[in-house]
C-alpha cells in the first residue's frame, strides 16, 4: 500500500520539483533584478530633478541589473525544456530524484542572480550619480556595475551545466 502511494507521489512530485526549480530561478533572479533596477531608478530620478537630460545616460545604467532576470528566465526555460514540461511537449516520467536534481541545479542562478542584481543596482545608482557630475566618465561607469554581473554569469553557467548533465528518461 505504502509503496503504491510513494510510487503515485513520485510520478507527481518529480515534475512538481522541476517546476519549483524553474519558479525559483525565474522568481528570485527576477526579484533581484526588479530590486536592483528600483535602487538605480531612485538615483536616476534624483539626478533628473537637477537635469532631465540625464535620463538617457541613466537608462543604460539602470537597465544593467535587469540581465539577471533574463538569466533566471533562461535557466527556467532550459529546466522545463529538458524535462519536456513546456507546452506542446510530451513529458516523460520524472522521478523525485530527477526533480530534486533539477531543483538544485536551478539554485545557483536563483541565489547569485538575486543578490548580484541588488548589488549591481547599488553600483548602478552610484555610477548614475557619477555621470550626472562627470558625463565623460560614461564608459567607466558602465563597466563598474558589470563587475557584479560576473558572478551571476558564473551562477548561470553552473546552472546550465548542471541542468544539461541531468539525464531525463
Amino acid at each position: 500500500m505504502e509503496s503504491a502511494i510513494i510510487e503515485a507521489m513520485s510520478g507527481q512530485l518529480g515534475p512538481a520539483l522541476v517546476i519549483l526549480g524553474a519558479a525559483l530561478a525565474v522568481g528570485f533572479a527576477g526579484i533581484g533584478s526588479a530590486w536592483g533596477i528600483g535602487i538605480a531608478n531612485e538615483a536616476a530620478a534624483g539626478v533628473m530633478t537637477e537635469n532631465p537630460k540625464n535620463f538617457i545616460s541613466s537608462l543604460v545604467l539602470l537597465a544593467l541589473p535587469g540581465t539577471q532576470g533574463i538569466y533566471g528566465l533562461l535557466v527556467g526555460v532550459i529546466a522545463l525544456y529538458n524535462t519536456k514540461l513546456l507546452i506542446g511537449m510530451e513529458p516523460p516520467a520524472i522521478s523525485i530524484w530527477t526533480g530534486l536534481a533539477v531543483l538544485f541545479a536551478c539554485l545557483p542562478i536563483a541565489i547569485t542572480g538575486f543578490l548580484s542584481a541588488i548589488w549591481q543596482g547599488r553600483s548602478s545608482a552610484a555610477c548614475i550619480l557619477l555621470i550626472s557630475k562627470r558625463p565623460e566618465e560614461m564608459a567607466h561607469a558602465v563597466i563598474l556595475p558589470a563587475m557584479c554581473e560576473t558572478y551571476a554569469i558564473f551562477g548561470l553557467l553552473m546552472s546550465i551545466l548542471m541542468l544539461l548533465g541531468i539525464k531525463v528518461q
Binding site: V60, A63, L64, G66, T67, I70, Y71, L73, L74, V77, I78, Y81, L86, I87, G88, M138, A139, H140, V142, I143, A146, M147, E149, T150, I153, F154, L156, L157, I160, L161, L164
Partner: protein, 664 residues
C-alpha cells in the same frame, strides 16, 4: 596600430601678422599649442589680446543666455540625433562671418533682453497676485471691510487668527472668558475637511493685553492682510482675479512676441556661437605664448606627417616669422594622436573611452578590433537579429549624412551585427528557434546545413570555445606587455614577468590537453615546460627583495597569481552565457507567439504582434549586454595586462564647430 610621431615647434611671429598666420594654422587643424609660463610677460604686451578675449567671452555668454531663453519657443528645432544623422549645414568661414554679425546679434540681444524683462515682470505679477488670492480666499465671507483689520478705528482694532480646527472652539471660549465685552469674536465659515479655522476678533484697543494673554495658551497665528487691500474681501478677490486674467493675457502676448523672433534668434545664436568659439580658441592659443611688445613667442606640437602642410601654410608669413623644430624638454611628453587604418578606426572611440595611450606606447586599437567584433557577435549571437540590425544601420548610413562619433558608433554596431549574423548562422539561431517553431518557415530548414555549433543542446563545446578564445586573448595581452618591456629595454621584466607566465600557463594547458589525449604531445614534455615556466617565475618575481629568503618567498608566492589568470579566462564564459541568453529570450518569444496564434479570428495578428514586440525587446536588451560585456572583456581582462593609458589626447587648434560644417 600606430601613434603619430610628434614634432615640437618653436615659433616667433610679429604681431602684425599674428592674426592671419594663426588663421592659416587653425585652418590646417594639426597644431596643438603648448601653454607657456607667462608670469614674466608685461601686462601691457598682452592687454589688447586679453581685452579681445574678454569681449568674446562676454559675447559668448550673451549668446548662451539668449539661446537658452528662446530655445523653448523654437518651432523648427532639430533633435540631437536628427542633427547628428542629418549632418551639419555646410558653410564657408567667410559665409559664417557674414551670418554671425555682431551688430545684428547685439540688436537681437536688446530685443531678447527686453522681452525677458517683460516676461519676468509679468510672471512676478502673477506670483504676487496668486499669493494674495491664496491669503484672501479663506476670508472671502468676511462681512467687514479689510481696512478695519489693517488700520482699525481710534478705539477698536480688528484681527484675524488662523488656528487648528480642533482647537478653534476652545479658543473662542477662552476669548470670551478673558475679554468679555471688550471683544467680539466669530469664526469664519469653513468646510468640514479643512484643518484650519479663521477667527475674526474685534477688540477694544485698551484690551490688547488681555488678547495677548488669551492667545498665549493657543498656537494661533495672526493673518497679515496687505495694507493696500481696503474693501470687502469678496470685492478684493474679484479685483485680484481680474488682475490675474489681465496678467495672463499679457503673458500670452509676450510669449507670442518671443515665439515670433525665436527661430531667427536661435539660428543667429548658433552661427555666433560657432564663429566666436573659433575666434576665442585662436586667441587663447595666442595668449598662451610669450609676448613682447612686437613679437609673440609660442610653442606647439604637430604630427611629423603634417610638417610639410604646416610649412606650406606658414610660408607666406616667412618674412615676419621664424619657425624652429626643437626637441622636447626633459620629461616633457608630447600629446597622443592615434592613426589607424579605416577598418579599425571606429574602435578608437572604445579605446579612448578607457584612456589615451601614452606617447611612444602601444596603441591597442587594431588588436582590439577583431576581438571586440567577435565578442559582440558571440554575445548577441542571432543571425536574424544581426541581419536585421545590420541592414537597418547600413540604410541609415547610406541615406543620412552621419559623421563623426555617431557614424563611428553606427559602424561598430553594423560590423558587430554582421559578426552576430555569421555566428547566428553557424549556431542555427534565426530569431531564436523560429525556423523550427513556425511551420511556415520550415522551407528555410536548409539553413541548418551550415550549423557548426549547437550551444542550446551542447553548451560544453561552446564553453570550451569561449574559454579557448579567452585563454588566447589573455596570452595575447601578456605577449603585448612582453613586447612593450622588450622595447623599453627591460628584458628581465619581459622574460620574467610575462615570459614566465606565458610558458607556465601554456605548459599547464598543454599538459592538461595531452593528458586527456586531445593533444598529441607527450604529457611529460608539456609538464616540463610548465615546471620551467614556474621556475622562471620563482626565480624572477622576487627580484625586488634584498634577502635570498625574501626573493625565494616572493617568487614562490607569485605562483598564487595563477588564480587571477584562471578568473580572467573563466570570465570569458560570459560569451556562452550571453549568447544563450539571447537564444532563450527568442525561444520564449516564439513559444508565446505560437500560443497566441491559436486564438480564433485574431490569432495570426496577435501572433505577429507578440513576435515583433518580443523580438524587438530581445534585441534591445541583448545588444546592450553584448556591447557592455564585449567592452568589459577588453578593459578588464585584456587591457589590464599591458595597456598604459596615461597619455594626453592631441587637441589641435582647429575649426571646432557645433552647428555648422565648415567647408574651407
Amino acid at each position: 596600430m600606430a601613434i603619430e610621431a610628434m614634432q615640437k615647434i618653436r615659433m616667433a611671429l610679429h604681431k602684425s601678422i599674428s592674426d592671419e598666420m594663426m588663421n592659416a594654422i587653425q585652418k590646417l587643424g594639426c597644431c596643438q599649442f603648448i601653454p607657456r609660463d607667462n608670469g614674466r610677460v608685461a601686462e601691457k604686451n598682452v592687454a589688447s589680446l586679453k581685452a579681445r578675449a574678454r569681449h568674446l567671452d562676454e559675447l559668448l555668454s550673451d549668446v548662451r543666455l539668449a539661446s537658452r531663453f528662446v530655445e523653448p519657443y523654437v518651432a523648427k528645432k532639430e533633435g540631437g540625433m536628427a542633427k547628428a544623422l542629418g549632418g551639419l549645414s555646410p558653410c564657408s568661414v567667410a559665409e559664417l562671418a557674414e551670418l554671425a554679425s555682431e551688430r545684428e546679434f547685439l540688436s537681437s540681444l536688446k530685443i531678447t533682453r527686453d522681452l525677458e524683462k517683460r516676461l519676468s515682470d509679468v510672471k512676478a505679477g502673477v506670483s504676487r497676485v496668486n499669493g494674495l488670492i491664496s491669503v484672501m480666499s479663506p476670508l472671502s465671507r468676511l462681512p467687514y471691510s479689510l481696512d478695519f483689520y489693517t488700520k482699525g478705528t481710534a478705539s477698536v482694532q480688528g484681527a484675524i487668527f488662523q488656528i487648528a480646527a480642533n482647537a478653534a472652539e476652545k479658543f473662542m471660549d477662552a476669548l470670551e472668558s478673558s475679554m468679555g465685552e471688550n471683544a467680539e469674536a466669530f469664526m469664519l465659515p469653513a468646510g468640514e475637511k479643512e484643518s484650519a479655522r479663521f477667527v475674526s476678533v474685534i477688540y477694544a484697543r485698551n484690551a490688547s493685553d488681555e488678547l495677548q494673554q488669551a492667545l498665549s495658551a493657543f498656537q494661533a497665528s495672526r493673518v497679515e492682510i496687505p495694507q493696500n487691500l481696503t474693501g470687502l474681501a469678496s470685492d478684493e478677490l474679484s479685483r485680484l482675479n481680474g488682475e490675474l486674467s489681465e496678467l495672463g493675457l499679457q503673458e500670452e502676448s509676450v510669449n507670442a512676441e518671443i515665439a515670433a523672433i525665436a527661430d531667427k534668434t536661435w539660428k543667429l545664436c548658433q552661427y555666433c556661437s560657432d564663429r566666436w568659439g573659433i575666434e576665442k580658441s585662436k586667441l587663447d592659443a595666442l595668449i598662451e605664448g610669450e609676448q613682447t611688445e612686437q613679437i609673440i613667442l609660442t610653442e606647439l606640437w604637430a604630427p611629423k606627417s603634417c610638417l610639410n602642410a604646416f610649412n606650406d601654410a606658414v610660408k607666406p608669413y616667412a618674412g615676419l616669422s621664424e619657425i624652429m623644430l626643437v626637441e622636447p624638454d626633459e620629461g616633457e611628453k608630447p600629446p597622443t594622436l592615434l592613426r589607424n587604418p579605416k577598418w579599425s578606426k571606429p574602435i578608437e572611440a572604445i579605446v579612448k573611452m578607457y584612456g589615451i595611450p601614452t606617447y611612444g606606447g602601444f596603441d591597442p586599437t587594431s588588436v582590439t578590433t577583431p576581438f571586440f567584433y567577435a565578442f559582440f557577435g558571440i554575445c548577441f549571437g542571432d543571425a536574424g537579429y544581426g541581419l536585421l540590425i545590420a541592414c537597418t544601420i547600413a540604410i541609415i548610413l547610406k541615406k543620412t549624412k552621419a559623421s563623426g562619433p555617431i557614424a563611428n558608433f553606427l559602424k561598430i554596431i553594423l560590423i558587430g551585427n554582421l559578426c552576430a549574423f555569421a555566428f547566428g548562422a553557424i549556431t542555427f539561431s534565426w530569431f531564436g528557434d523560429s525556423l523550427t517553431s513556425f511551420s511556415f518557415l520550415k522551407p528555410l530548414g536548409w539553413l541548418k546545413s551550415i550549423q557548426l555549433l549547437d550551444p542550446m543542446s551542447d553548451p560544453m563545446t561552446m564553453l570550451v570555445v569561449s574559454l579557448a578564445i579567452g585563454f588566447f586573448h589573455v596570452m595575447l595581452g601578456l605577449a603585448i606587455a612582453m613586447r612593450n618591456n622588450f622595447k623599453s629595454g627591460d628584458r628581465l621584466a619581459a622574460f620574467g614577468d610575462q615570459g614566465g607566465w606565458i610558458i607556465f600557463l601554456c605548459g599547464l594547458v598543454m599538459f592538461g590537453l595531452s593528458s586527456g589525449g586531445i593533444l598529441g604531445l607527450p604529457a611529460k614534455l608539456c609538464g616540463t615546460v610548465a615546471v620551467f615556466g614556474a621556475l622562471v617565475l620563482v626565480a624572477t618575481q622576487g627580484r625586488g627583495k634584498k634577502s635570498v629568503v625574501g626573493k625565494l618567498f616572493s617568487g614562490i608566492l607569485s605562483l598564487y597569481g595563477i588564480t587571477s589568470y584562471l578568473g580572467d579566462v573563466l570570465s570569458y564564459s560570459r560569451l556562452l552565457a550571453l549568447g544563450l541568453g539571447s537564444a532563450a529570450i527568442a525561444m520564449v518569444v516564439n513559444l508565446l507567439a505560437n500560443l497566441v496564434s491559436g486564438v480564433p479570428y485574431i490569432g495570426i495578428l496577435l501572433g505577429v504582434a507578440v513576435f515583433a514586440m518580443g523580438h524587438v525587446f530581445g534585441m534591445v536588451i541583448n545588444i546592450l549586454g553584448a556591447f557592455i560585456h564585449s567592452m568589459r572583456l577588453q578593459y578588464v581582462e585584456f587591457y589590464g595586462k599591458f595597456y598604459d593609458a596615461s597619455g594626453e589626447g592631441f587637441l589641435p587648434l582647429s575649426y571646432n564647430t557645433q552647428y555648422v560644417k565648415l567647408t574651407d
